[in-house]
């Protein structure tokens, strides 16, 4: 059956640039975020490619040591503060979450728009810093170096400070929305798991981010006024800065990964056409990760000079993070077992996630072990672990989610063949880039140097080839996704035969989301009971 785009939808009900910049519609705000966040991803990706280019040879190709320090700092800062933290909650959470719970909008639409503007202000500070001397502290801003370097530390701290508020407001908004605006009859255990994940994420955002705010403010004051809290020359303690910083930034790692896990729960259930296995376990493991994430920050500081007692406690507690993560992985696999799996593009991303995130997670356990970390600290093993979790985990989930909801967002389908080629390119490119970095790390290759011993040249070159493959893959994705917005085939309301509530609306949805009050008719994963009425599957699977 041929689908058509509905005559009126949220994209054309109001027109003109002002209707976008002043919009209160959560869907449009999601798209505003998408533009900014994806541009940041592009920017951070360019820096990544420059780094890999420099590392093809131990000699200087593009950059000397100072330039290289700035490039990896900017890669980290842009990717973390501008891309990965806001990515899933602000884009897909904004667009999909209210639809999933049958709400007309988020609880505080004006605050939602304000948080986008705050994000843009933070973005501007970051770009300003980029053009006024750069930054060479790494994304962690460790004292005392960040207190002494002459690069643009203040603008970049301001950027991170401002972006933090954007994150807090988004989190606050989502918590209230999920508490108060669920469709009548929708209980907590009928929420899609993506909503649970967004909820757990939002809790971390409101609990941890204020501490980042005060930490960065203190660091700025240390630089400007010299208050003596972090600067050893002023009687301060630089290790205390690391406590302050990681009290936010370790939970922030879960801000990055939890929403990704939420997306994976949706994808696995939808494309296995099967009731999700262990719903409550997955839901509560999200909260479990959010909670334990606050107790383990000191594992970043094993060699920083913190007390031995603290190191032992933090190492011990770190292992507990593995439990809820493991629960999720096993439940997803149990969901797929005996399901009728269709390998559409979003599912391919989800499968990539399962493989790569498992590797990332297990190497995390290795690094959390105090005695091993002392040797592997600040080597490429850490770099690789981090990228397996963040790129292999979160980025796979983002792109899985974008491919999954793209027909809902724009009403049109992308080119499935190109999409599958892109998944393969990314998957292969990613492993080529980062797997050798585990090996280099165990052999002692330290991170954050523009040069290296000649024995590593083969592996570094191999890694750089992988980065190039990934770059091509992401470029391809950008091209066909943008093409789909204008020229794609109309997708219909429910191309994936999914049961969550956002698929009950036309694609794209109306400005007010639902006609009248939305009623709950079935659970989000009742694949054993219900076949959705509007599910006419046009797009053949392999």
């Amino acid at each position: 059956m041929e689908h058509t785009i509905p005559e009126k939808h949220y994209l054309n009900e109001a027109t003109g640039w002002k209707s976008w910049l002043m919009t209160l519609d959560h869907k449009r705000i999601g798209i505003l975020y998408m533009i900014m966040v994806m541009f940041s991803f592009f920017l951070g990706g360019v820096f990544a490619l420059l780094l890999r280019w420099e590392l093809i040879s131990p000699d200087k190709i593009l950059m000397g040591p100072e330039m290289y320090n700035q490039a990896f700092s900017l890669h980290g800062i842009i990717m973390i503060f501008l891309f990965i933290i806001p990515s899933i909650p602000a884009i897909l959470g904004n667009f999909v979450m209210p639809l999933m719970i049958g709400a007309k909008d988020v609880a505080f639409p004006r605050l939602n728009l304000a948080s986008w503007y705050i994000y843009v202000i933070g973005f501007c500070f970051a770009v300003y810093a980029l053009f006024t001397g750069g930054i060479d502290t790494g994304w962690t801003f460790y004292t005392p170096y960040s207190n002494e370097t002459t690069t643009a530390v203040i603008p970049i701290l301001t950027a991170a400070f401002v972006l933090g508020f954007s994150s807090i407001f988004t989190g606050l908004n989502f918590i209230v929305t999920i508490h108060k605006l669920r469709a009548p009859g929708m209980t907590w255990f009928q929420l899609p798991l993506f909503v649970w994940a967004i909820y757990a994420t939002a809790l971390i955002q409101v609990l941890a981010t204020p501490v980042l705010g005060i930490t960065l403010a203190l660091l700025m004051l240390e630089r400007v006024v010299g208050i003596g809290i972090f600067d050893p020359a002023m009687g301060g303690d630089p290790v205390l800065f690391q406590h302050f910083f990681w009290f936010y930034s370790h939970p922030a790692v879960y801000i990055m990964i939890l929403p990704g896990m939420g997306i994976i729960s949706e994808l696995i259930a939808t494309f296995s056409h099967r009731r999700i296995f262990g719903y409550k376990f997955i839901a509560f493991s999200s909260l479990g990760i959010a909670f334990t994430g606050f107790l383990v920050w000191g594992h970043h500081m094993f060699v920083s000079g913190q007390s031995d007692l603290a190191a032992v406690i933090f190492s011990f507690l770190t292992f507990f993070v593995g439990i809820p993560s493991g629960i999720k992985i096993l439940n997803w696999m149990a969901t797929m077992y005996k399901g009728s799996i269709s390998l559409d593009t979003p599912m391919l991303w989800a499968l990539s996630f399962l493989i790569l995130f498992s590797i990332g997670g297990f190497t995390g356990i290795v690094l959390g072990t105090l005695s091993i970390d002392v040797h592997l600290h600040d080597t490429y093993f850490v770099v690789s672990h981090f990228h397996y979790v963040m790129v292999g985990g979160t980025v796979m989930a983002i792109f899985g989610g974008l491919h999954y909801w793209w027909p809902k967002i724009w009403g049109r389908m992308y080119n499935e063949t190109l999409a599958r080629i892109a998944v393969v390119l990314i998957f292969v490119g990613f492993n080529v880039t980062f797997f050798v970095q585990f090996i280099m790390g165990t052999q002692g290759m330290p991170r954050r140097y523009y040069t290296y011993l000649p024995q590593f040249q083969g592996m570094h070159g191999f890694s750089s080839i992988g980065a190039l493959i990934m770059g091509v893959g992401f470029l391809l994705i950008g091209i066909y996704l943008i093409h789909a917005i204008f020229k794609g085939k109309p997708a219909g309301p429910n191309p994936w035969r999914a049961l969550t509530m956002e698929w009950e609306t036309p694609s794209p949805p109306r400005a007010g989301n639902f006609e009248g009050a939305q009623r709950l008719t079935h659970g989000p994963y009742d694949y054993d009971k219900v076949v959705p009425e509007n599910a006419l599957k046009q797009y053949k699977t392999l």
Binding site: K104, I168, K180, L207, L218, E222, F244
Partner: protein, 215 residues
């Protein structure tokens, strides 16, 4: 919820009724207060760590704060918190004039607090009991007394900014109330501001003994 209250002017389109809207606002505000607690929490942590490292210096330095000014300010803030609570109560009972009186009282007391704070600050600035590298006072025994004054100025300063913010918002509330924007059915902004103001009081309740009494 009956039909007559289905669409009052203050009800936004995405809420089904005024009750849902009010509850949402309240939950949102409590979460905001949670972020405030953790924001101040960083500074409390700063204080706790350095006090545990230098208990003697903190003890020596705290003697240079004026207990009576601090105690007066505590009384002022507690009374302002009481007037704020009474302002809400008056609005619940529909006594708009009383609300305006109590809100004005709150603003007045907040201003008194800031004036006393001003005298304390200017005295310290004069003596050189300043944060960090600006410190030039001599006569406090112990290591690094400037850190005590860093903590003092940061914590009372951030608190002071919150008082100033409160003054601005409550003044706006007085204007809105006198224009008749609020009623016993809808007084969410007053209630929200009240919660915020009590938190400001709450933080001072801890700052006062930590700095003025035990150092």
């Amino acid at each position: 919820m009956n039909q007559t209250t289905a669409h009052p002017a203050h009800l936004q389109h995405h809420f089904t009724d005024a009750h849902q809207q009010a509850e949402s606002a309240k939950l949102g505000l409590w979460i905001f207060l949670l972020t405030e607690v953790l924001l101040f929490g960083g500074l409390f942590c700063f204080y706790a760590i350095y006090r545990s490292w230098n208990p003697d210096m903190f003890h020596n330095a705290h003697a240079f704060l004026n207990v009576w000014m601090g105690a007066t300010n505590t009384v002022v803030l507690i009374v302002s918190s009481l007037t704020m609570a009474l302002a809400i109560r008056s609005m619940q009972l529909g006594r708009r004039k009383h609300t305006i009186v109590f809100l004005s009282g709150t603003v007045f007391l907040a201003c008194v607090f800031m004036v006393i704070k001003y005298f304390e600050y200017s005295h310290k600035i004069h003596l050189g009991q300043l944060p960090g590298k600006w410190y030039f006072f001599e006569g406090i025994a112990g290591t690094n007394p400037h850190i005590f004054f860093s903590a003092y100025f940061l914590m009372t300063g951030l608190h002071g900014f919150h008082v100033l913010g409160g003054i601005a918002v409550i003044t706006w509330l007085i204007i809105k109330t006198s224009r008749g924007s609020f009623s016993p059915e809808y007084y969410t902004p007053i209630e929200m501001t009240g919660l915020y103001w009590h938190l400001v009081d709450l933080i001072w309740i801890f700052l006062f003994p930590l700095f003025y009494l035990i150092g």
